[in-house]
Amino acid sequence: MSLDKSEIQNIALLARLTIDEDDIASHCKELADIIDLIEKMNSVDTASIEPLAHPLDLFSRLRTDNVTEKNERENFQANATETKDGYYLVPKVIE
């Protein structure tokens, strides 16, 4: 398995991580090694196997439609770096 520079950069972009130009090669190698490990799965035939998303064979319970929450804005926004007039702030977005 090998990964090229553009693939690594694309993954980093999707994941919103920045990768130093100098580190790209080592990232390529590291990721490729892990992919090699992962590909050991290919030793088993799974054609007739149902995928398992969840260890217990259960269906979801459902919640009754009630409003149970009150306003806790102040409490929650104490953890935010930038807020104003009740809004969370981000750099200007142009749509």
Partner: protein, 484 residues
Amino acid sequence: MHQSTLAELSSALESKKISSEELIRGYIERCKKHNVSLNCFITITEDEAIKKAKIADKNRARGNHTLLTGVPVAQKDIFCTNGVKTTCGSKMLSNFIAPYDATLVKKMNENGFVMLGKTNMDEFAMGSSNETSFFGPAKNPWNNDNVPGGSSGGSASAVAARLCPAATGTDTGGSIRQPASFCGITGLKPTYGRVSRYGMIAFASSLDQGGPMAQTAEDVALIMNVIAGYDGNDSTSANNKIEDYTKNLNDSIKGLKIGLPQQYFDKNLNNDVANLVENGIKELEKLGAKFIDVDLPHTELSIPAYYVVAPAECSSNLSRYDGIRFGHRCNEPKDLKDLYCRSRQEGFGKEVKRRIMIGTYVLSAGYYDAYYLKAQKVRQIIRNDFKEVFDKVDLLAGPTTTGTAFRLNEKLNDPISMYLSDIYTVSANLAGLPAISIPSGFINELPVGMQLIGNHFQESLIINVAHQYQKATDWHKKIPKKYE
């Protein structure tokens, strides 16, 4: 007092031999003193703990108490604790004051547990050595040059050094059992869904499970009685009946059929560890258990499947750390993308970023079927292996880890070798099974754990077997000299 188990502390409080305040003050002093070298706590909540201890004493005086009112405990820093810094071992959350309590924390508080502090851990629980923590690694009390294991390394280290009688951990691929094994304590990963995940910061949602880490199986049972059960805030929490986990502790294990998975005694297993586990098996045989060899033929595939499922889920779970509503935010972002990329680049450590990258890759267009879907199918195969085995036996026994605690930095730059060392623990997570690690001897003064794996919701049974084993042995009573 600090050598006592939870059960012993409970009776000491009950008989008024000691007050909760005295107890907590004593433990807090120990924590402060030894944390300097062990680094097992990220936060010690001294004032709050003493305040709670006083309340506990009042409640006990009034007769308004539970068995455990006033006993100390440490919480892994992955559990949200209202008003207390909750870092998950990450720079990203190094200033995060949780605005709510995790369900597990809430239940423990309601039952009178007094929290001493928040324990160190691998960043976002990603690691097997505690070395990925932003706050530096916790150390193994048996030898400070060795890792305590991970990710719940701080909890294991703190319990082993008797800085707290018990602690909580979380286990995604072995994160309770492996550090329990490395530090010589008892750690249970319950059945997936048995303990609520609400307020437990997610790493891999379909694998994560919180559980107790303590000195004895009996203490594990006491804690399970508090934390197990259905939670309306966690859709994946199981709604079936919870048992009294202490009820069957003293049941005879005579005639129990215990399977020995041949794949857990393979070339990866250190010979000395193998011998100690075999001694453990002999002990259980003496108690009347019957052993048969069984096969878990796809054990080898558990690591590859795990390293698809866990990173995939983590890559998505960790997307919420964007520097906007909480967590690290970079200085003066020049635009939105810069805010995202720099906050995350600065806030996450190397291993976390590595796993986010893997997870993003395996889910990305064109690879989903080959990796993610394939891993889910392999997961099915692994669960089926267990299903078949549990038709023949009541539980399984084997080693928890391939060897004893490794040296600090030994595997830090070799992620693959680090990943492969989880070989005996990850299957239980993939299949959602309960498993316990119990102390079973020492190699060069480093502890070794034996693992018991039960069928879904068979916690009671494996705790029972562990307790019977501990009645017959005293490995779990050993305390590192420095911390006696």
